[in-house]
């Protein structure tokens, strides 16, 4: 069987990833150029750990964006001739090497790894974002007003957090559940929060100025209703927004398990910032509680929240890997990293490198996020 040397493997690897290198160079130059205006992100250059983290994270972001240019094979393209081949094996008929080898169906591991980043980078940040909006919308009033509202919500959050996550996923993402209406109900509840939050932001700022308040509320409601119909009911009148039912199920489940953590952080930060004098100044000025929460407290909680969001995207990535590994929610053919690890792990003794692409991809992305969080924390402390 024809194969290429280790050096040629890496040469091909670097060559294939040229759009990523180019994009990285451009982004870093841009960030460096405008670093004075970018706040915490600009100061990341003072922290070596942060730079490394940002590099790794952006590497995967650009890999996902340019996946179609980078890959050597299609993610589903099988070959009976080349099954479980070691790295560097040449597909003679096509004249293209399998630089990271093939899996048990003869699919290119390198290409699947790159396509896998698309799944992770779509779901993990989006689910974290929605979880954040849910957590903030509930955590701010819980921390600011307290009382019964806080007691009930904190109890519910603790309840969810106390439940073993994997078990929860077996309950929420099982095939039987997917056929019921439950995922849609959950998604329906969670997707209301972004609309609600946007309305709160606008109302709190412009409560006195109806000329601004009314049109902006109408715009928010219109956009919200459009996205909502597409995402929750899969019935977008314009036919642009659509989501696979399996992905919607995963999405809802991830938000469900992640938002209680965010809720608790936001609640804690709010309880701390609430005691500052500038909050007292706003209250004595006659601001409504919504304004105090969203415009006086939330912006000053952003440092810890940005750091936590990096970590949380990492947790969600691991969660997605776990889901894929157990075959929950994902299509059997899907090139997500968790499924890849599961499908290849039985052949470690035959081809020791077979699990490495997906494993290292997953690990490096999470590591990158953690390093970035460390760097940002270091820099945001200097504020």
């Amino acid at each position: 069987m024809e194969s290429i040397s280790t050096f040629e493997i890496w040469l091909t690897f670097f060559k294939q990833l040229w759009p990523v290198w180019l994009a990285l160079a451009i982004t870093f130059t841009a960030i460096y150029q405008w670093r004075a205006r970018l706040g915490v992100l600009g100061r990341i250059f003072d922290s070596p750990v942060g730079i490394v983290g940002l590099l790794i994270v952006l590497f995967w972001v650009f890999s996902a964006i340019f996946a179609d240019i980078i890959v050597l094979f299609d993610s589903l393209e099988q070959s009976g001739l080349y099954r479980r081949k070691p790295p560097g094996t040449m597909n003679v008929a096509r004249g293209i090497p399998y630089i990271f080898g093939t899996d048990t169906l003869g699919r290119d591991l390198f290409s699947r790894m790159i396509y896998g980043s698309q799944i992770v980078l779509l779901i993990a940040p989006a689910a974290s974002l929605v979880a954040y909006v849910v957590g903030i919308t509930l955590g701010l009033p819980a921390g600011y007003i307290g009382g019964k509202f806080d007691t009930v919500l904190s109890f519910l959050a603790n309840l969810v957090l106390a439940f073993p996550v994997i078990l929860l996923f077996y309950l929420l993402v099982a095939p039987g559940i997917r056929e019921t209406i439950l995922p849609n109900i959950m998604a329906g509840v969670f997707f209301i929060f972004p609309i609600l939050f946007a309305l709160m932001v606008v109302y709190s700022r412009f409560a006195e100025r109806l000329r601004v308040l009314i049109p902006s509320s109408i715009i928010i409601l219109a956009i919200g209703a459009w996205l909502y119909s597409g995402l929750v009911f899969n019935a977008d009148p314009l036919g642009i927004v659509a989501i696979d039912p399996g992905e919607l199920n995963i999405f809802a489940a991830v938000v469900f398990t992640t938002s209680p953590g965010v809720f608790r952080i936001v609640r804690g930060l709010t309880m701390d910032i609430r005691t500052r004098d500038y909050v007292a100044a706003a209250v004595t000025r006659g601001e409504n509680p919504l304004f105090v929460m969203i415009w006086e407290i939330l912006p000053n909680a952003r440092g810890p929240l940005i750091v936590d969001s990096c970590l949380r995207i990492g947790y969600v990535t691991i969660l997605l890997g776990t889901l894929g590994f157990f075959g929950l929610g994902m299509e059997p053919e899907s090139p997500d990293w968790g499924s890849m690890i599961n499908q290849t792990r039985s052949y470690i003794r035959l081809v020791p490198t077979i699990v490495l692409p997906a494993t290292l991809a997953l690990a490096s992305f999470v590591l990158g996020l953690n390093l970035l969080a460390d760097g940002l924390r270091e820099q945001s402390l200097k504020d």
């Binding site: 006195e208 100025r209 500052r276 004098d277 500038y278 007292a280 100044a281 706003a282 209250v283 004595t284 000025r285 006659g286 601001e287 409504n288 415009w295 006086e296 912006p299 000053n300 952003r302 504020d383």
Partner: protein, 553 residues
Amino acid sequence: MSDAILEIRDLSISLPKNADRKYAVKDVNLDVAKGEILCIVGESGSGKSVMTSAILNDVPDTLNITSGSVEFDGQDILKLSQIQLNKLRGARISMIYQEPMAALNPSIRVGKQVDEVFALHRPEIKSKDRKGETLKLLNQMKLPTPERIYASYAHQVSGGQCQRIVIAMALACNPDILIADEPTTALDVTTQAEILRLISDLKEVYKNTIIFITHDFGVVTDIADRVVVMCQGKIIEEGLKEEVLMTPKEPYTKLLVDAMPLLETKRTPDQSRVDDPSVIVNELHKIYKTRTGQVHALNDASFVLRKGETLGVVGESGSGKSTLAKTLIRLEEPTSGSVSIGQENFLSLSGRGLIASRKKIQMIFQDPFGSLNPSQTVGFMLMRGLELQGVDTIEAKDRAIELLQQVGLGEQAFKRKPRNFSGGQRQRIGIARALSMGPDVIVADECVSALDLSVQKQVLLLLNDLQKTYQMAIIFITHDLRVAAQVSDYITVMEKGKMVEFGTASDVFNQPKHEYTKRLLEAAPGRDWHPPRLSAEEAAEIAKSLEESSLEQ
């Protein structure tokens, strides 16, 4: 000087590269004579603490000693090894810190911590005798029930007692030099007076040399033999206490002494006024319920204040003066009583009515760093209050800029965020923010106590001018009798939640009726000192020339 115990020569300590000046301490030469009390005076950032940290070779990691020597007992402290330093620190040179609570380990009984010093530096005392020695020492610190204190934790004793324990630790080995870094700043006036007396008394016994760092000229008067004035990392003036305090030579010292408020009242209210009062407070009570019982934080506060008048509320920590402020502006609900602002019963309002009336009473806060939202621009803060009252955007912006100019901060402040301003400037912004609501009453809670003397003076003058323009009634809460004397028409003294004394400022200062008021007046540091005054023109001239010379550098 032949009898110098400590000689600092050409000491320079550099700051990190992005700081506002290059050196924390620059070319300092200083002799400390054996047995004297040397006061190092300076405003915040003058380098006084950094310089003394070099005496123990304990300069913070971010700073660098670039040159110089500290001669003590024939050796250069800056060149000693860690082991030699450990023998020196605590035994021959020891330190008292500003925050007594922070200087003690919260999880070890305080007596054990004093024992520790004996164990470390005086091995000749056997372990079974240590407790006896410690108790003897605590007794000498005039601590009541030394046995009980010995077995207490730091949080179980008061701030003044904590400071006595820290002093005991510092004196345990009878050091040659005792360095005290603002040891009384965190304490109440009466406690401060006691600690200062204790330090002077102990010096008679122990005969040590004391280096005393402070920003308060009152304290200097009470305790110093010799004074060193620092500014911008340099020693500006040095001399005997009487010379520096009564006939300062350097312009900077002159200004500093001039900024010291006098212990004399300035304003006399017109008591025959019959116009409607701005604020009437009647039998205000606030009771906090705790697990063990209840605390009567505010007990029967009543007063009347008219347009353009100022009530000084004086008291020590825990006297209920901040509770008074919070209940007046309804950040906390009083247990009973009434507050009327103008014709309106402020306490009976709720919901929208309360929100609409809040603008009538505004607050200026103590901490210039915590009271401005760091994520908002100054313009936003000032405009927001106006917009809430329905002023349209363009008009609000004009008014905001006008206010900025009135508080002495030009238009360019409009777009900046609080982190670009110094403490004094922030406090001006806080004042502008309160004024933007057009209040009838302003509650100023310790609004100048975090500021340096010279800045404090300017802010007080500003407040005075603005009061003349806007005729608001001010409730001025302070722990500092001197400040209260400057601004108040009426003064009330609070103790344990009660207003124990109420009267016109001059009555309270000259004929105090209540015992507690007399004690407070007696404890005021430097009460026998009458600092020389500059005329306004002279002061302005000196300030201008100083500014010019600092620009040249």
